[in-house]
Symmetry: C2
C-alpha cells in the first residue's frame, strides 16, 4: 500500500489531537504486522472473534454493533480513520465481548498483535494517548445518551450526523457526504428506518441535507448543528495538547 501514513494522515492527526508526539506515530506504525482491506458490508471483527490482535482503522468507515435477541443489529458507534476498532477486546481479552465490527465502506485496517500492544503501553506517551482515546469515547457516549433520551427523532438523527462530521473534521476529512445509509442511522439511533427517513426528508426540505441525492449529504452544517443542539466542545480534546505535552515530557524524564 503506497499511501501516506504520516503526520498529515488521519491517524497522525488523531494522535496529535490526543496529545501524542510524532514519535508515537512511528512507534505505532512499526508495531503493525500487516494491513488488510475489508470490503463493504464485511466483518472486520466477528462477534465471536477471539484473535489476539487489535484493529486500527486507516481508511474507510466502520461500525461496532451488537445483536439483539431477535437478531436485529444494534449499532453502538461508528469508527472513522485513525480510530481503534476494538480496544475493548484488548482490555477484556478472551471472553467474547459479543461486539462485532462491520465495514460500511471498503476499509483499510492495520493489525497489531496484543504482544505488541503490551509493549506499546510501556511508552508513557502512547499509554496516555490510549487513555485519552478512551476518555474521548466516554465523552462521546455521554453526549449521545443525553441527546438520545431528551429530544425528538429529528434531534437525535441530526445529532448523530453532527457527531460524525465533527469526528471526521478532527482527522482532516471534510467530505459533506457521509458514507452511512438510513438503515445504519436507524440501527444507531434505535429509531425505525421509516422514521429516520421522515426526519431526513424534513432536513432535505429545510435545505440542511441535499435533496439532489439519496445519500446523506450535509449542505448546511450550521443549521444542522442548531437542530441537533450540538455543542462540539465535548469532542474538542485537542485544546489539551499543550497541557499534556508538558506533562508527558515530565513523565518521560
Amino acid at each position: 500500500l503506497r499511501i501516506d501514513w504520516g503526520t498529515g494522515s488521519p491517524l497522525g492527526r488523531k494522535l496529535s489531537s490526543l496529545g501524542g508526539h510524532a514519535d508515537d506515530l512511528d512507534i505505532l506504525l512499526q508495531a503493525v504486522v500487516r494491513c488488510v482491506v475489508v470490503a463493504t458490508h464485511n466483518n472486520v471483527i466477528r462477534e465471536d472473534d477471539s484473535a489476539a490482535q487489535a484493529s486500527l482503522l486507516l481508511a474507510g468507515t466502520t461500525c461496532s454493533y451488537k445483536r439483539k435477541e431477535d437478531g436485529a443489529r444494534s449499532i453502538l458507534s461508528f469508527q472513522h480513520p485513525g480510530d481503534f476498532c476494538d480496544l475493548h477486546r484488548y482490555v477484556r481479552s478472551e471472553q467474547g465481548s459479543a461486539i462485532g465490527i462491520q465495514a460500511l465502506t471498503d476499509c483499510t485496517i492495520a493489525i497489531i498483535d496484543y504482544q505488541e500492544m503490551d509493549r506499546l503501553l510501556s511508552y508513557p506517551s502512547l499509554a496516555s494517548v490510549l487513555w485519552r482515546a478512551s476518555m474521548l469515547e466516554v465523552a462521546i457516549y455521554r453526549q449521545r445518551l443525553t441527546s438520545r433520551s431528551h429530544g425528538t427523532a429529528l434531534e437525535r438523527v441530526a445529532h448523530l450526523l453532527c457527531e460524525q462530521l465533527a469526528r471526521r473534521d478532527a482527522v482532516g476529512i471534510y467530505d459533506p457526504q457521509l458514507p452511512i445509509s438510513q438503515i445504519d442511522i436507524a440501527d444507531a439511533t434505535g429509531l425505525p428506518p421509516v422514521d429516520v427517513n421522515r426526519t431526513i426528508q424534513i432536513q432535505r426540505s429545510l435545505n440542511v441535507l441535499s435533496a439532489m441525492t439519496h445519500a446523506i449529504e450535509v449542505v448546511d452544517r450550521n443549521q444542522l448543528a442548531g437542530i441537533a443542539k450540538f455543542d462540539d466542545r465535548y469532542l474538542d480534546i485537542s485544546k489539551l495538547a499543550s497541557k499534556w505535552a508538558v506533562q508527558i515530557e515530565r513523565t518521560r524524564n
Copy 2:
C-alpha cells in the same frame, strides 16, 4: 476519620477488580490531601468548578449531571464508593466541562491535587488501573445506550437498577435498598417522573420491588434482571485481573 480504607474497603475492592495491587491502594491513599464530607443534595463539584483537584468517592452515592437549556437536570451516571467522580475534568482540565457532581446521600470524598495525579500516572500499574476504569465506564455507557434506545420504559428503569446493584456488588455493598429517588431515576433515564412511578408500581405488584416502603428496595433480583434483559458480563472486568497482573509485573521490570 477513623474508617478502614484498606483492601476490604470499596476502594480497595475497586482497585483490585481493575487489576491493581495492594501497593496501588497505599500509593493512592498517600496522595490524598484531605477528606471532606458533603451532605445530601449538595454539590461535590459545581458545574463551573475549576479547582485543580480530583474527587474520589469513599462512601455514599453521587450522580454526575448536566443542565439542559431549560435548566432541567439530566443525570449522566451514578457513582458508588470507590469511583472517581470527575476524571474527565482532570483530562479535559480548565475548560469547564459543565458537568456537575451532586451528592445523593451524605458522602465522604477524598481530594487529590492534579499535581499528585500527574505523579500517580508515573506508576504504570496505577496508570493501567485508571485506563481500565475509563474502559469500564465506556462499557457501562455502551450498555446503557442499547438498553435505552430499544425497549420499554419498564425495561430501561429495571436496567438502571440492575446496573447500580451490580456495581455496588462489585465493591462489596449488598444493601437491597438503593439510595436513589424516583426523580433521580427519571432524570437518569430521560423518562418523566410519572412514568418512572408507574414502572415502579408495576415492579412492586410483581414483587420485584418491595411494596412495604416508598424507597427503591429490590427483593427479587433474578426477576429484575429478567425484566431488564440484564447481562452483567459487561461489568465483569474482574475476570481480567489475572491477565493484567501478569502484564503489570512485566511492565514494571
